[in-house]
Subunit: 250 residues, 2 copies
Amino acid sequence: MTNKKEISAAIIIIGNEVLSGRTKDLNTSTLATWLNSLGISVGEARVIPDVEKTIIDTVHELRVKYNYVFTTGGIGPTHDDITAESISKAFNIEYGFHKEAFAILEKYYEPGNFNDGRQKMAKMPVTANLILNPTSGAPGFYVENVFSLPGVPSILKAMIGGLGNVLVGGDPILSKTINLMTYESEIASSLTNVQDNNKDVEIGSYPFFRQGKLGVSIVLRSKDQDKINLCNSLILDFVKAKNIKIVELE
Amino acid sequence: MTNKKEISAAIIIIGNEVLSGRTKDLNTSTLATWLNSLGISVGEARVIPDVEKTIIDTVHELRVKYNYVFTTGGIGPTHDDITAESISKAFNIEYGFHKEAFAILEKYYEPGNFNDGRQKMAKMPVTANLILNPTSGAPGFYVENVFSLPGVPSILKAMIGGLGNVLVGGDPILSKTINLMTYESEIASSLTNVQDNNKDVEIGSYPFFRQGKLGVSIVLRSKDQDKINLCNSLILDFVKAKNIKIVELE
């Protein structure tokens, strides 16, 4: 089996609230899990402040390096929501009312309630494509290979489903996890042997705690199921020889 | 009141497991909260893969841009733990057994249990300073302004306490949060006025859900308590005029 293509993405989390420690970023995990399921690997993720120049520079840097760039945050109605205007400037596209977005929001709110703050959510690069929002009306948008989503995790989750047909994915990235009740140091050299002989399977080793005891999750990742199976059996061989217990984690 | 100094930091999360979506990064939030309490603002955070060149390049780029750089992850005993060797290369310092780290680990494990895997955790830039680990023995380390910590959140938390005396902080960054039962769009224009007249207070607006209802947290951040107090009273004025309910969140 050969890889038909390598497709990669970068994630940009826009938000002072993450850099201050106030808010834990959940969107990287959501986006990365979803992108991996489409065969798109995530090359890097960055958390940057609500600063126009930083947003523009980061978008420019990453969008030539990766097939896709996803931004989260900063598309709401308040003064600190500057993502849409920044993306407009990055692409040199007029920032203004997007006709389709305006129509969606006007219909979403009851007559008389579509105030200035809400109208701001229809402002974006005027020629952008919309990413529809089944939860709360206000759409995201994309320009070329840069996709802008909201920062609220539940809303972001509801919106990415609609993008499956827009993105061109690669071969799915397959994975297999083996959870062992042992210490990393007990298996380190055996695991190194398996990795050295199977360079194109990414083998990760991650300690965990369970009922007060330390364990290790070994994660095998590859686009080739046969190679994962081979590594799996090599690992089970040394696990059996060392008399290490295998457990299922939820 | 004038700022005595601006001290900044960057965070580098090293780990394929975060980029695959398997693991949610908790360390950015821990480090950012702690750094802010020391008067050190976090300028950016990056999640990068376990790739030597990427680690070296990212460290080089960020350590000249910020006063401090913190890396997390990749200092354990297995083959995918390459942070210590990468940092050695970044600083052109020999990668080998660190005498003090070796002595600590040798003492930590029972005789006969200090195997090859565990010994690897004593390998790092040989002239690095140690960051002691009260939880599980294996120390972190720092070279110049780059601090390398483990990826396991509970261990990282236990280790940063010892760094308070090493870092030079700035004026503490003060904050005040006001939680309102309203929509962002209802307060957007009033809040913009407050921000426009108080440029040196960072005013953030973040929607939240509570018992099925939408609310907004307004976060004021500045090094000057008087300026925070002024913004707070300006916000309470319009909140009262609009008859918006203020709530306490845990």
